[in-house]
Symmetry: C2
Subunit: 456 residues, 2 copies
């Protein structure tokens, strides 16, 4: 692998440099916010005992394209520029982590320990029309638990706790995880005599967009009676932060075994949330989340005050995350739309980093001859985990301090500046004190860039 | 963004599940080795004050394809499956970090602080014929320093120190960073009267493959005299871990101002290496590293005992990393072939992880009713940074312990097992002791998976 080929292209193509819509890039200080968010996600997933998996970026097109015509069009096909016909359009870039993970489970089933708890934080690509909050290249952070044959229902209650833990460790602001169970509408619709469950769900799912009157009209048009349509709307209006939703559903007077199962299961999830993540979970019986593959609990997440951006974190339970025809692997998972969240938080300046470099210290240079000593100071600081750089040139100290200021580096180190040795200056306060590279440590809030919420 | 679409494809395409050659994937315990390596790289780059940049995965094809026909063929073109003609083959996946970084510098020049120290750890794609140590999808970890107009030469000495620091923190085994300066052969060839510098370099670069006799024959065929060819071979044979190479070159009796510059510059790099990374740098006058873009120091890195795998980490100095026609941005950088190194270390089992999950503790379950208490224990452990999971079901304790064993989880926690409260068992030694979730901490070597070299 020739690791550093030429970049001669630059001069030639310089005139054409433009961003590509839907493919976001960050400046260094913004990237620090992204990294911190990714670090928090990973750290939290690992604390909860999820193992990392990373899959290749491509899958065979036929594996990606069984999702329906609309999705197919959004797949990015990949082919070698110099390839023959056999190379063309065999592969596409994955558009989520679920399809590749399902394939990974089937491919490695004999080598994995089930129930298998995995997280996966990777880029995905989707040829959508770019708009605010939607991207063509984006990072997703998924957790899933997958088992063989049967999956214990308590995992459905565990998923939102992990997500609540992530969002409590990063300044995203207020959020609500909305939970439903697909068995509730499924049983309820059957209980009131509507047999086209998917068709009904599809219409009710439009509530946020078109409102209850139009939904009712569509339900009636599809064959429901006025009373059935009203019952569907009544169910969808139920929302509670405690177990109150059970009685509210019961009060509608509908009976069906699937409905009972769904209510019991959702009650377990909400009860667990009330104990371990109080105030974060809401039973919201309007949530449908994908129409034909989730079979149990479903999740969506909204940031309070930014509901119009839609769900930033969604998922649910599949009876068949993967299947090879003989063995079926049920799973439950949830996915954080990292790029989408950052598009809001960074794009609107709600979260910022205190500097544009990891360096906490700039080691100043008295003259070119003292570079070796300055590198020695830097090496000693690094050995103790303090990120730093040596000034690029022995310019006037004022200029070296401005070099640090422009990058937000809080400390400048002056080798041999004091009577007894080195000194270090906090360039924000101007305070300069004697210090030894073998013992000095900055306050912990200065050790790495501070990532903070701006609006409070 | 619908974050979790269906995976219905799986059943359908299950029969076709096969790895894709050149697109490596790891099992969870191998992935832990990869993550640790990436963590060490990132941590070291940040300690040295490099800022992270991540660029989009695609670039316009014309930006990628100015590298010559051979490289062009290896570019993966990307186009939307449902796209019209205007979508086709406009974009390709980047095949390194240098082309995108050069574009990023030009695009954001007004917002970056120069000299700009950046690192970039990302996937790249190249449609090479797959073979051991070569991949089509691979991760590169680059550092570069880029400045405006002029770049201080000390950065050329700094790059290999950072790399030596990375490799001293991860069990890669013995390695040697080979350094040369392109001005040395350039000046030397001109000094002995050979004007086709690139042509000569191209032939001498084949030394490792075809040996000195064939190289000499080719040089003579290209127009060199016997004596000139011998001089070229004599230069290429020089190699020293100290400044001895200067006298060895001088002894060849060739004079040229560019040669003087090159020797002085390489002496600075080696001298810095002798002080700050003793034993790691070698002046090797045979190294050419890319033929028409490096203009100063060039680097290659080999693992001792694995020389046949070639260089794992290469780079050099460019006079024009990027240019917009008005302003030129010189740079120096070096790139770690992460996937290639892991292909060796993981592929041959030289480095392994002690477990397949981040979890250090499995919290056992007495019965279904005690799940809430077990989750409470897990929450308390996580709050103090101890990764854990709760047993999936209240099976017999022997079965729960085997669950931990299969994953390499070292500790099983038994809530309420002792007279005064909980107990924790080290399942390797069998020792079981009283413990409180608010105070117990595993030894640091058990807190995260141990990543160790197997061959010593």
């Amino acid at each position: 692998m020739s690791t550093r080929p030429t970049s001669k292209a630059d001069t030639k193509a310089a005139a054409k440099i433009t961003p590509i819509s839907g493919f976001p890039e960050y400046l260094p200080s913004e990237r620090i916010v992204e990294q911190r968010f990714l670090d928090v996600i990973r750290e939290t997933f690992e604390l909860h005992g999820f193992s990392s998996v990373e899959t290749r970026s491509i899958e065979p097109i036929e594996r990606l394209s069984a999702q329906g015509e609309d999705t197919d069009k959004e797949i990015y096909a990949v082919s070698r520029l110099g390839g023959g016909a056999e190379d063309d359009a065999r592969w596409g870039l994955h558009f989520d982590m679920t399809v590749p993970f399902a394939r990974y489970v089937l491919e490695n089933a004999g080598k994995l320990a089930f129930p298998f708890r995995r997280y996966q934080i990777q880029k995905a690509w989707r040829g959508e029309r770019p708009q605010e909050g939607r991207y063509r290249e984006f990072t997703q952070a998924d957790i899933d638990v997958v088992d063989v044959g049967q999956l214990s229902p308590h995992f459905e209650a565990e998923m939102p706790l992990v997500i609540a833990d992530v969002f409590s460790r990063f300044p995203v602001g207020e959020f609500v995880i909305q939970v439903n169970n697909r068995k509730i509408p499924n049983g309820f619709y059957q209980g009131i005599g509507l047999t086209d469950v998917i068709g009904t769900l599809r219409i009710v799912d439009k509530l946020d967009k078109i409102g209850p009157e139009k939904v009712k009209a569509m339900l009636v048009e599809a064959g429901a009676t006025d009373a059935q349509a009203d019952q569907c709307l009544a169910l969808a209006a139920i929302r509670s932060t405690d177990l109150g939703f059970v009685d509210e559903v019961r009060a509608l007077g509908v009976e069906h075994p699937l409905l009972d199962e769904g209510l019991e299961s959702l009650a377990d999830v909400i009860r667990t949330g009330m104990t371990h993540a109080p105030g974060r979970l809401v039973a919201d019986l309007r949530i449908a989340r994908g129409l034909d593959y989730y079979t149990g609990t479903v999740y969506e997440t909204q940031f309070v005050g930014h509901e119009s951006w839609g769900s930033f974190c969604s998922g649910g339970r599949y009876d068949a995350l993967a299947s090879d025809g003989k063995t079926t692997y049920p799973g439950v998972g949830i996915s954080i739309g990292v790029t989408r969240i950052l598009g809001l938080l960074v794009g609107r300046g709600l979260v910022t980093a205190s500097r544009s470099t990891p360096a906490a210290v700039l080691v100043a240079l008295n003259d070119d001859e003292s570079r070796e000593g300055a590198v020695g100071v830097a090496t000693a600081l690094r050995r103790r985990g303090i990120a730093c750089e040596v000034a690029p040139s022995p310019a006037r100290f004022g200029k070296q301090i401005r070099y640090a200021e422009r990058r937000g580096i809080p400390y400048v180190w002056f080798p041999g500046a004091g009577e007894s040795g080195d000194e270090v200056k906090d360039i924000r306060s101007g305070e300069q004190l004697p210090a030894s590279a073998d013992t000095w440590t900055p306050p912990s809030e200065d050790l790495t860039p501070l990532v903070t919420r701006v609006d409070g």
